[in-house]
């Protein structure tokens, strides 16, 4: 084990060097750039034997990933924002063909207006594309999760592409203390690649991407959905197995001080870490506050989430993307559906925050937390949906 000072982007590039995939096809885009830049350096210095394909667009990047993966290669890519939007058509080709491609998705807002900073609009736009989505709270989780993503994607019960999402600039560009494993340990953990139905196996010819109409299309999709559901167990198992070799175990939902909580905040990625600090502050004032963060977002870990929520009365859900016009943002909508199906009477309040990198201040976070506390005591009736940290005048 090595302890290093590294950014999350640098950690992903290093993990990619350790993994040494057969093919990487990627196009640089802020704030993902260093991942591609540093890994391209490893390729040109001969430190990996990976075939790096510099493409002219993200649509081509994902097309090459699809082709290489179907041919039988282990494939990695990375992108952000407009890059993911430009890949959109090919994302469905990757998941529909059950190709275990792994992507680092450095979250950034979508144009217009043009903005390079963090929000989750890019990955939320792809939440129904059939990719597994895992959100990381800090740089250590990024490094660890990226390594776990390969055995998850390649698991015979799953065979689906995985998106490892982390906050642009906030986590991608911040120097942090990261524990890294030896190359040998990483390679042991991910194992050698076993191609399934590779196109290049000419003795066993197969077809990828045939025309399938109303005769069988629905069966294809049903199988894909089943594979996605099986990923719940696989992600959990691999998170535990990773814990055995690293001392850092992972589940489906991360919880903080939830055991006896009355109120809680739910958020994805780095905001969940910041919220812990406010939960501690409220605990000091005698308010039983906790934080939950779905690490896995697709498939949605409804059961693990309900278990983590325990006996709370009020839940505030923070979304770093809006589903404009829906009246509830993506994370809250999924949590709301899970609560409804379970017949839960936990009250849910949803706030959209941090669009285009807008700072979520500690005081905004605290005042929202406190309004949940007053709602729990029946002293206040907050709006069920709204924006946090925005100019309203």
């Amino acid at each position: 084990m090595r302890v290093v000072a590294e950014t999350a982007n640098g950690a992903v590039a290093e993990a990619m060097r350790q993994i040494e995939p057969h093919v990487v096809a990627a196009y640089p885009i802020t704030p993902q750039t260093e991942v591609v830049e540093e890994f391209a350096g490893y390729v040109s210095d001969g430190r990996v034997r990976t075939r790096f394909v510099p493409v002219e667009s993200e649509h081509s990047a994902m097309s090459i990933c699809v082709g290489a993966s179907a041919a039988g290669a282990r494939v990695i890519t990375a992108t952000s924002s407009q890059g993911l939007a430009y890949m959109w058509e090919m994302l469905y080709i990757a998941s529909g063909n059950r190709l275990p491609i792994v992507m680092a998705l450095v979250n950034r807002a979508l144009s217009a207006p043009i903005n390079i900073h963090c929000d989750h609009s890019d990955s939320m736009g792809a939440r129904d594309s059939g990719w597994i989505q895992i959100y990381c709270r800090d740089a250590q989780e990024v490094y660890d999760t990226f390594i776990q993503a390969l055995p998850i994607a390649e698991h015979e019960d799953v065979r689906l592409p995985v998106m490892v999402c982390y906050d642009g600039f906030i986590v991608s560009h911040s120097l942090a203390r990261i524990e890294m494993m030896t190359d040998e340990r990483v390679r042991d953990f991910i194992g050698s690649y076993k191609a399934v139905y590779p196109l290049l196996d000419r003795d066993h010819p197969v077809i990828y991407g045939p025309l399938v109409l109303y005769d069988y299309y629905m069966e294809f999709k049903r199988q894909q959905a089943e594979a996605m559901n099986r990923a719940l167990e696989v992600v959990f198992e691999i998170g535990k197995r990773f814990g055995k070799i690293s001392g850092r175990s992972y589940g489906l939902v991360s919880s903080y001080r939830m055991e006896d909580a009355d109120i809680a905040l739910a958020a994805l990625s780095s905001t969940a870490r910041t919220a812990e600090v406010i939960a501690d502050e409220l605990r000091d004032q005698g308010i039983r506050a906790g934080v939950i963060s779905p690490r896995l977002f697709r498939p949605f870990p409804a059961k693990a989430l309900l278990q983590a929520l325990g006996g709370i009365k009020v839940l505030g859900v923070l979304d770093r993307a809006d589903s404009i016009g829906a009246g509830m943002a993506p994370l809250a909508a999924d949590i709301g559906a899970a609560l409804q199906s379970a017949g839960s009477n936990i009250r849910l309040y949803n706030r959209v925050y941090g669009l285009g990198g807008r700072d979520l201040t500690l005081s905004d976070l605290k005042s929202f937390f406190l309004s949940l506390e007053r709602a729990g005591q029946g002293k206040e009736m907050p709006a069920h949906f709204g924006y946090l940290g925005v100019r309203e005048d």
């Binding site: 302890v3 290093v4 000072a5 390079i116 900073h117 906050d167 600039f169 906030i170 986590v171 560009h173 911040s174 120097l175 942090a176 203390r177 780095s270 905001t271 870490r273 910041t274 812990e276 600090v277 990198g357 700072d359 979520l360 201040t361 500690l362 976070l365």
Partner: protein
């Protein structure tokens, strides 16, 4: 937790200084964050960088709004950038400035906080031969705000800059760092 804000211009090694300080704290088994002001970077344009250091894992990912120390690498920012923003009575402001702290306080109309100056440009010119003041300002900062030991920072300067600059310039940067550490002036 200690929070530091760095002010300078693109190309002056401000982000590098913020990162050197953070990475040096790893040598003392501390936890840290170092990040630039998130935005398009242009040579010569004003920019900020931030360092957080603590003995326990850092969980705050919000902006630094109430810094414990502010380091100003380039004095041409005075009057153009809100250098004293968020300062409290205990905060430290360390400026590359060749006149007295008292004179600077009135120029900045600074109400609260402790002010220090250091002739970092002269020190850097004398040692390195170029007005690259980031390593000198690291020395000045550590002199009044011992976040990390000098030894750890010197080692980190060597580790970060080795291979990027000539060995004799590396030595010059260490001399610059040490001289600024001694020469910083308070009110």
């Amino acid at each position: 937790m200690l929070e530091i804000r760095w002010h300078g211009r693109g190309g002056q090694g401000v982000v590098t200084a913020a990162k050197i300080l953070a990475a040096a704290s790893l040598r003392e088994k501390k936890y840290f964050q170092a990040f630039p002001e998130f935005g398009p970077e242009r040579r010569g344009a004003p920019l900020q960088a931030f360092t957080r250091i603590d003995t326990i894992p850092i969980r705050i990912y919000s902006h630094v709004t109430m810094p414990d120390a502010v380091v100003v690498v380039d004095d041409t920012l005075i009057g153009h950038t809100p250098l004293t923003e968020g300062l409290s009575e205990e905060s430290l402001l360390i400026v590359n400035y060749n006149r007295s702290p008292g004179e600077l306080r009135s120029r900045l109309k600074m109400q609260t906080g402790r002010l220090f100056t250091v002739r970092a440009t002269e020190i850097s010119l004398a040692n390195i031969g170029r007005p690259v003041t980031n390593t000198a300002m690291l020395g000045a900062l550590l002199s009044v705000c011992p976040a990390v030991s000098c030894r750890a920072v010197e080692e980190e300067i060597c580790y970060t800059l080795a291979g990027k600059i000539k060995p004799e310039l590396l030595e010059a940067n260490i001399l610059s760092f040490k001289e600024a550490f001694r020469e910083v002036k308070g009110e």
